[in-house]
């Protein structure tokens, strides 16, 4: 039973965070292991804070490492934690630095994403990840429309159509929308185009992109966000359009709607940042001073 749950977790792709610093790894030894030698996941969600200072240092290969006091941060899989660029390393260090008395792993999204990329707990290849991500296109949020009530129909058309038109122009594909429960028929050519496009991302960016897609439940919105067509807030709003409509009608419940909203925003923002940090390369050109 427990083994099944764990297998489910690993199939979902993202290692629940709870990274380990080496001396305390013994704590979880009693648990059944998925593949015998390495533990790539953890069920711990909180832990006492055990360090004071957080700093980053550049190791060999130009990768950045995180130091907690004098110890190096490690991933749940026991590898050395490495981030490919300084901005990401600083953001992760900040997550560790701002924890108060307890480490709340569920609030450290960038750390979680880095751990997933480093450990690859579900042992998937790039192709498998692209296939998994494109599955969401078949059931994309913004392709499923309602046919009543009229005000919601109008809202969906007004808000979602521009994004759908944009992506059809941008990638020169046909997606379409549908009100039937089966959803729109996505042509094979469209899938091929997106498959090629996603193939151009590197492994780290793909982890981030897939994360954003699974959060927003929409490939279209995720690509619009990554292409900087919209902000995180807008993408989340469009993803929750029907919920927002119902809230407008029935009222807002803080302990459900707001908790959901902020968590979704935080996760989406973390995924989008992760993609951007992992795929960018920056050059600096200085102005020549003229005398």
């Amino acid at each position: 039973m427990l083994r099944n749950c764990l297998r489910l977790h690993s199939r979902l792709g993202h290692s629940l965070s709870a990274p380990n610093v080496c001396p305390s790894r013994q704590a979880l030894k009693g648990l059944p292991l998925l593949n015998g030698n390495t533990k790539l996941y953890s069920i711990i969600t909180e832990r006492k804070k055990f360090y004071e200072d957080v700093s980053i240092s550049q190791g060999d290969g130009g990768m950045f490492e995180i130091n907690l006091d004098r110890r190096k941060l490690k991933t749940p899989g026991g590898k050395l934690f490495k981030a490919p660029n300084e901005a990401l390393a600083v953001a992760v260090a900040n997550e560790w630095d701002t924890q108060k008395d307890t480490l709340k792993f569920y609030s450290m999204h960038l750390t979680t994403l880095c751990n997933t990329a480093l450990d690859n707990p579900s042992l998937r290849s790039k192709d498998q990840m692209i296939t998994a991500a494109l599955k969401y296109l078949e059931t994309d949020t913004i392709c499923y429309r309602v046919d009543e009530p009229p005000s919601l129909v109008e809202l969906q058309n007004n808000e979602w159509d521009p994004v759908l038109n944009w992506i059809e122009d941008r990638y020169n594909v046909v997606i379409g929308s549908s009100t039937s429960i089966l959803g729109p028929e996505i042509p094979q050519a469209t899938m091929e185009t997106f498959r090629q496009h996603l193939g151009s991302y590197n492994f780290w960016s793909l982890i981030g992109l897939e994360y954003v897609i699974t959060q927003l439940k929409s490939v279209v919105l995720a690509l619009a966000l990554i292409d900087k067509r919209m902000t995180v807030e807008q993408a989340v709003l469009l993803s929750r359009l029907e919920e927002e409509f119902q809230i407008g009608h029935w009222g807002n419940v803080e302990w459900a709607h707001d908790v959901d909203l902020y968590e979704l925003r935080a996760r989406t923002a973390a995924g989008a940042l992760f993609v951007q940090f992992s795929s960018e390369s920056s050059t600096v050109k200085r102005k020549l001073m003229q005398d």
Partner: protein, 110 residues
């Protein structure tokens, strides 16, 4: 479509979030100095049009969103998330009752 905040407002927003989460010694923190340095470095030059500025602006907007949403999420989580089972007395209080102070309750001694 994008309604990005201006660089100055984003910068101040991020620094405010860092201060809120770090407390009084925020000025020594790694992130504070890094963010400030990045914003100073990326001020526009008059010389050429640069797409990178928008990229940086978009990233900083996302980062601000990440910081503020995480803070608000944790606040709500602390407020509402279940903390395990409640005691008998507390649970009685929730429905507006009090536990009897004597073994048999009111009228026991008669």
């Amino acid at each position: 479509m994008a309604a990005l905040l201006s660089p100055l407002r984003v910068c101040r927003g991020i620094l405010r979030e860092i201060r809120a989460s770090k407390g009084p010694e925020y000025k020594n923190s790694l992130a504070y100095n890094y963010v400030l340095e990045q914003f100073r470095k990326n001020q526009v030059t008059g010389e050429r049009h640069c797409r990178a500025r928008e990229e940086a602006l978009h990233a900083s907007n996302s980062y601000l969103c990440l910081l503020s949403s995480t803070r608000q999420h944790i606040a709500l989580y602390d407020l509402y998330h279940g903390k395990g089972q409640r005691g008998t007395e507390e649970m009685a209080g929730v429905v507006g009752l009090r536990l009897p102070t004597q073994p048999g309750g009111k009228g026991w001694e008669k």
